[in-house]
């Protein structure tokens, strides 16, 4: 079934060189993330033999944060890649589906309404995200198998606008609440420790293998529903499996870091641009690039407004949104 690869054309770079480059970017990103932080006296030189305060800074706060960024990048880019392939829609991603705004709505309800005060905020975020995703999906006709690309993005914008209208309720009440809501509703990993990293890895690594196992089916989806069925892969099963994996990966990410947009939207497109359309390659490469993007964003988030840190979610958005704009204006595959 190798024709599925050539159907989209092979990568534009020699594969070995490209993977090498991606790895180099990943490792430099990891170093960037480790070398920066609130303590200006702990830097690159402390990475090899840290002692005293430097050791605890590196091992207890920066290392878990670095791994969290890596895993979040992996989770979010894979969930974007799978969603886009399974729905055969290049725009399907958490940011467009309104998942992030839904998570924000869930969080705000949890913070404002006494009714939900017993429910952990992470759970509220997850419920909100999935609620928004399901509504957008339904509006775009995703459940009937006739998903319309424009309806998807427009439905997402509508659901997002509704969620934000509700989120902003908190803004009219008092500053303290507004401050909490603003802080909760952008992706933030400043206070990540090892338990959260373990949770991310527990879902992310099986997710990676599941995505690899699914990659051939995703290639078939790209050929179109009819041909996929002809080749023995029921597209509905692919859609179901893909949505489940994507939901789990997004869910665990939102519960750990809050909503982080654009990784799932931007990274798969970048990967396709560099490596062509074969999902057996795209799965590992997207994971790699997603991790690298998050690591750099994490580093930038610590130096952009130093000495104050900006949440990583807004940094990713500041990188991702213009890139997405550039793509919609100039690239052919989206418009």
């Amino acid at each position: 079934m190798s024709h599925s690869v050539t159907a989209h054309g092979a990568g534009k770079l020699p594969r070995g060189l490209a993977v090498g480059l991606a790895l180099a970017v990943l490792f430099s990103g990891a170093l960037f993330s480790l070398a920066t932080g609130g303590r200006s006296d702990v830097g690159l030189t402390d990475l090899w033999a840290p002692e005293g305060i430097a050791a605890t800074v590196i091992y207890d706060t920066r290392a878990p944060r670095m791994f969290a960024a890596t895993l979040l990048g992996l989770n979010l880019s894979l969930s974007g890649l799978i969603l886009q392939a399974a729905t055969r829609n290049p725009l399907a991603s958490p940011a467009i589906l309104g998942l992030n705004q839904g998570a924000a709505l869930g969080l705000s309800l949890g913070l404002v309404l006494p009714l939900f005060s017993g429910v952990p905020l992470q759970v509220m975020a997850l419920v909100g995200a999935f609620g928004a995703g399901v509504v957008t999906f339904a509006i775009s006709g995703g459940f009937t198998g006739r998903m319309d690309s424009l309806r998807l993005v427009l439905g997402g914008v509508a659901v997002g606008a509704f969620s934000y209208a509700m989120v902003r309720f908190a803004f009219t009440l008092e500053d303290e609440l507004a401050r909490s809501v603003v802080r909760w509703t952008v992706g933030d990993i400043t206070d990540i420790r090892w338990p959260a990293v373990r949770r991310l890895a527990l879902w992310g690594l099986p997710g990676l293998f599941a995505a690899l196992a699914l990659s051939q089916r995703l290639n078939l989806m790209a050929l179109g529903q009819a041909s996929a069925q002809g080749l023995g892969a029921d597209s509905r099963i692919t859609l179901l499996l893909g949505t489940l994996i994507a939901a789990a990966l997004t869910g665990v990410s939102v519960s750990v870091a809050g909503p982080i947009a654009f990784v799932g939207l931007v990274v798969p497109h970048l990967a396709k641009l560099l490596f062509g359309g074969d999902h057996r390659i795209l799965v590992p490469v997207s994971a790699l690039l997603g991790a690298a993007l998050m690591l750099y964003a994490d580093g930038v988030s610590k130096v952009l407004t130093a000495p104050v840190e900006a949440p990583v979610g807004v940094v990713v958005a500041l990188i991702g949104a213009p890139w997405f704009l550039w793509q919609t204006v100039f690239a052919r595959d989206l418009s």
């Binding site: 609130g38 200006s40 605890t56 207890d60 905020l121 303290e176 400043t190 206070d191 840190e309």
Partner: protein
């Protein structure tokens, strides 16, 4: 587009002239000059520091913005202004209908929050606008004098300010010897983060006056330009104050979550058991003379306990 409403000042001036037949005075404030009646009786205030100002000279407002929660006006204020005032809603969007129904003869509003409503407020009653939220402690005391003039009690207010300065000088005399060489830091924490109040803030300037050092100034080249600084554990460990005063809006708070971590346990203030709780509402939302005296009393108590 004509967003300058040329007729409006004329119109509101006419209204004011009708509302205040006797002895109006010109008060200059953040958004211009307003004719204020000589001896306003029905005052509405829209920020907590203005309550402090009125209470300082024994004047009770008829209406105030308490965010819809009457207990935000603390007992020391209630002792002076009584409990007959009407809540006009949140400080962000106070109900103009209720303000109007109180038939005030003076409204004191805040620049950051109420600039957009200034014209409308001026239609109800003479309105003066001060910068309550932006400034530090010294600015807030200067405002007290302005409010004293506006409410026709400048003599009483001057006397109160003099007394306040004397009281504060006493507190400073008590605190300063003990504060020598100690870096103190105030921060507010909720469930999601810790915000340190920088030396530019109201509380920062108070701590400075008490003679405390601040480690937030000495970071190499980096400047904390913000008044409130969201802070990670790592940043806190670099600032590493000797005395950390924490006002918590949530229980358990974000800072409580750090307990047990090596970096946190190695903070100077944690090792010396000098992370101390203070009342977040009093320290962070209230400002003014009474508020400053309460803060000072808190600090005296804290420093006595440390000995």
């Amino acid at each position: 587009m004509a967003y300058t409403f040329k007729l409006l000042p004329v119109f509101s001036a006419a209204l004011i002239a009708l509302a205040s037949p006797v002895l109006a005075r010109d008060i200059t404030h953040e958004l211009g000059t307003t004719d204020v009646p000589d001896d306003p009786k029905r005052i509405v205030v829209l920020e907590f520091s203005y309550i402090d100002a009125l209470a300082s000279v024994g004047v009770a407002p008829v209406g105030l913005a308490d965010d819809g929660k009457r207990d935000r006006v603390i007992a020391p204020y209630i002792d002076v202004i009584g409990d007959d005032w009407v809540s006009v809603g949140t400080r962000k969007t106070p109900s103009l209908e209720i303000i109007a129904s109180l038939q005030p003869d003076l409204i004191i509003a805040d620049k950051t929050r109420h600039t957009a409503a200034y014209d409308t407020l001026s239609e109800i009653a003479p309105t003066i606008v001060l910068d309550s939220l932006g400034g530090d402690y010294h600015a807030s005391v200067a405002q007290m004098a302005a409010i004293g003039t506006a409410i026709g009690k400048s003599v009483e207010m001057e006397a109160r300010i003099t007394a306040h300065k004397a009281t504060m000088a006493e507190y400073v005399a008590q605190i300063k010897p003990k504060a020598e060489g100690i870096a103190a830091q105030f921060g507010v924490t909720n469930a999601k983060g810790l915000w340190l109040h920088s030396p530019r803030s109201y509380n920062g300037s108070l701590l400075e006056m008490f003679g405390f050092d601040s480690n937030m100034e000495t970071a190499d080249g980096a400047v904390y330009e913000k008044v409130y600084v969201p802070t990670t554990l790592e940043q806190l460990s670099e600032i590493d104050p000797d005395l950390l005063l924490v006002g918590a809006y949530a229980d358990p708070s974000f800072v409580d979550g750090w307990a047990g971590e090596t970096l946190y346990e190695n903070l100077t203030s944690v090792k010396a058991d000098q992370v101390l709780p203070v009342t977040a509402h009093n320290w962070s939302r209230l400002r003014g003379m009474l508020a400053a005296e309460m803060t000072a009393a808190d600090v005296v108590r804290i420093m006595d306990a440390l000995e």
